[in-house]
Symmetry: C2
Subunit: 370 residues, 2 copies
């Protein structure tokens, strides 16, 4: 193969694909990026970790079509350091790739393109579009709740499913057993018969990065085992998690009758401040609920005590409840409105948190004993 | 004690002292900052690691003079999170300090001020002033060469000494055995009888941070075992390294007769680029010297080869020499002028690098076999 490409274009393309490549690989070719120059003036950059695959298509001047693979991180580092505005010539032959730009030339080892593993997509019968902004909202408001416990692999992703109850909707949920985050959006056309799927954490992370550069909509195609996202010049394909997501709807409380309405910013700042003295062992922040205020406090045997009063509107008899400060902050950071609602039952029952009954996002948080 | 202080003032003072405090301490009180409120409206913040001590004096409204100690990092984190513009009340009594600002209050454990170790400065007979800009220049151009090998403790700092040869000068040098950096500045008044001293790496690091906020001059007082830097509101006192710095002047080559003049920016960029494919084991960049250019190259058994030609003016018969790419870059990054001189002898001899024969900074770099 022989092709010439602008340094900035190559760098942008590589920046998308290289982060799919793991830093350490027992299979050498998984460290590589597949570069394919086609006769129609396109350079395809492809990277994979066997579960997630990305293909980025960029424009290039192709003299001789062909393909090879070479170290993704090395090529990315080289592209980063090449002079701005330079033209990069790529020339592969005899197990080597010659890269030239300005006065610099690199002759790098390659591995044959035929050894590069490609994820077989199979049939992807469900196809629909989602606005990039909607997908960003879904990811940002749920991903923090994804479990990191590898033994509970079926919680290591975001669960997507459709429902007709009462309107046709697409729901996305994530939980680690201590908190649950769910976003509900109108069901896109074409998603009617979508199977329930769990999209793995790494795919979510790469997808989220790519979404920052997408205007308009994302093309989504999926089966029960694979999903593909079409994002402009990039195509992201991932295996889905082969497992059953628990029936999370049962943990969403429906009869919590004690309502606290509070400014999420003062609440967040207060929790953050009192949590300063919390330690690894004592992450719980106590909320003492009163008619027109709540008192946040943390007690640490090593450091001492911290307390702060935050004005709030609480309906019901006062009581005390404790939450993991980090989990509470994760949720409050996702609340954009002026007011957040906490629907409480008692000190031991899951608490429902949302902006209001019309907001697409909903959170459930388990209390801690304080 | 009881005092009130503006949050921004407290935060700035704590930001200076907290970085002297080590994250892990076997002696609990070394995690603490000593806070002393004096009747004249000053709050003194003091931190130490037994070798290095900082005292920062800030203005406060003092109601009751007194002193106590409490966790430096916790107090710093609290000050960071307190509302902007708030007034912070500090009140110490009965082994606790009550901190109040806005609606937040913290009651933190303290340790008695009498247990706080203070470095006995003793007599500091040599005193002089140095412009902050000069001290910055000395540190920036030498500190990268400080050795990190703990067994060669006498190289773990910057060596300062005065000399009369031929003009009265103050010289600062650092070396790790592979490279040497030296800066020469006019000898300040008062430094005539200065003993030779080695200022430890950590003191240099803290001093450098504080210098960013200093206009004008720094007051320096020292003996053979201690040094004190007066920097506006902060006083930094450090023990000196008790050891003998090697006679480095012997390694500065004086008869290197092959001179390369080259643009430091193209040289630096070229070395940085070819070094992309260098690995842990092969950090050497080869320079093939020719009349009007040098060819930089790196060969890596794993990755392949890289080469770049850089125009340069070389007087002498061409030959090849290798350098550790990282060490060469460290030096080139300190060269601000349009031209740098490399005075070479042969492939095995130390090379002298400097801007020109009038520049205050001078570097010596040992070659590597390539």
């Amino acid at each position: 193969m022989k092709a010439t490409i602008e340094r900035a274009t190559l760098l942008k393309g590589l920046s998308h694909v290289q982060s799919v490549v793991e830093r350490r690989n027992t299979i050498p070719i998984l460290s590589n990026v597949l570069i394919e120059a086609t006769a129609n003036g396109t350079l395809k950059l492809m990277a994979t970790d066997l579960d997630l695959q990305i293909v980025e298509s960029i424009q290039a001047q192709v003299d001789t079509p062909g393909a090879t693979t070479l170290s993704a991180h090395t090529l990315f580092d080289i592209a980063r350091k090449l002079p701005e505005g330079s033209q990069v010539s790529l020339q592969a032959a005899d197990g080597k790739m010659l890269i030239q730009a300005g006065r610099a030339r690199f002759n790098l080892s390659t591995l044959p393109r035929d050894d590069f593993p490609v994820i077989a997509e199979g049939d992807l019968p469900t196809t629909f579009e989602l606005p990039a902004a909607t997908l960003i909202q879904i990811i940002d408001k749920t991903r923090f709740a994804i479990s990191t416990e590898e033994t509970r692999y079926y919680l290591n992703g975001i669960f997507f499913h459709v429902s007709d109850d009462p309107q046709p909707v697409l729901k996305a949920a994530a939980t680690d057993g201590h908190r649950l985050a769910r976003v509900t959006v109108p069901r896109p056309d074409g998603a009617e018969k979508m199977p329930d799927i769990i999209v793995p954490r790494k795919c979510i992370g790469e997808l989220r990065k790519l979404l920052d550069e997408v205007d308009g909509s994302v093309d989504i195609s999926l089966s029960a085992s694979k999903i593909r996202f079409g994002l402009g010049t990039a195509i992201l394909t991932s295996k889905l998690i082969d497992g059953t997501f628990p029936d999370y709807s049962r943990v969403i409380p429906t009869a919590n009758d004690k309502l606290l309405k509070i400014d999420p910013r003062s609440f967040e700042d207060g929790v953050d401040r009192v949590a300063t003295i919390a330690t690894e062992k004592t992450r719980a922040v106590k909320m003492a609920l009163d008619k027109d205020k709540i008192t946040l406090s943390v007690t640490s045997p090593e450091n001492g005590t911290a307390a702060e009063e935050v004005p709030g509107d609480f309906a019901g008899e006062g009581f005390d409840i404790g939450f993991n400060a980090r989990y509470l902050l994760d949720i409050l950071q996702q609340v954009d409105s002026d007011l957040v609602e906490l629907h409480l039952a008692d000190a031991a029952a899951p608490t429902l948190i949302r902006e209001n009954d019309k907001s697409p996002a909903l959170y459930v948080l388990m209390p801690m004993r304080v």
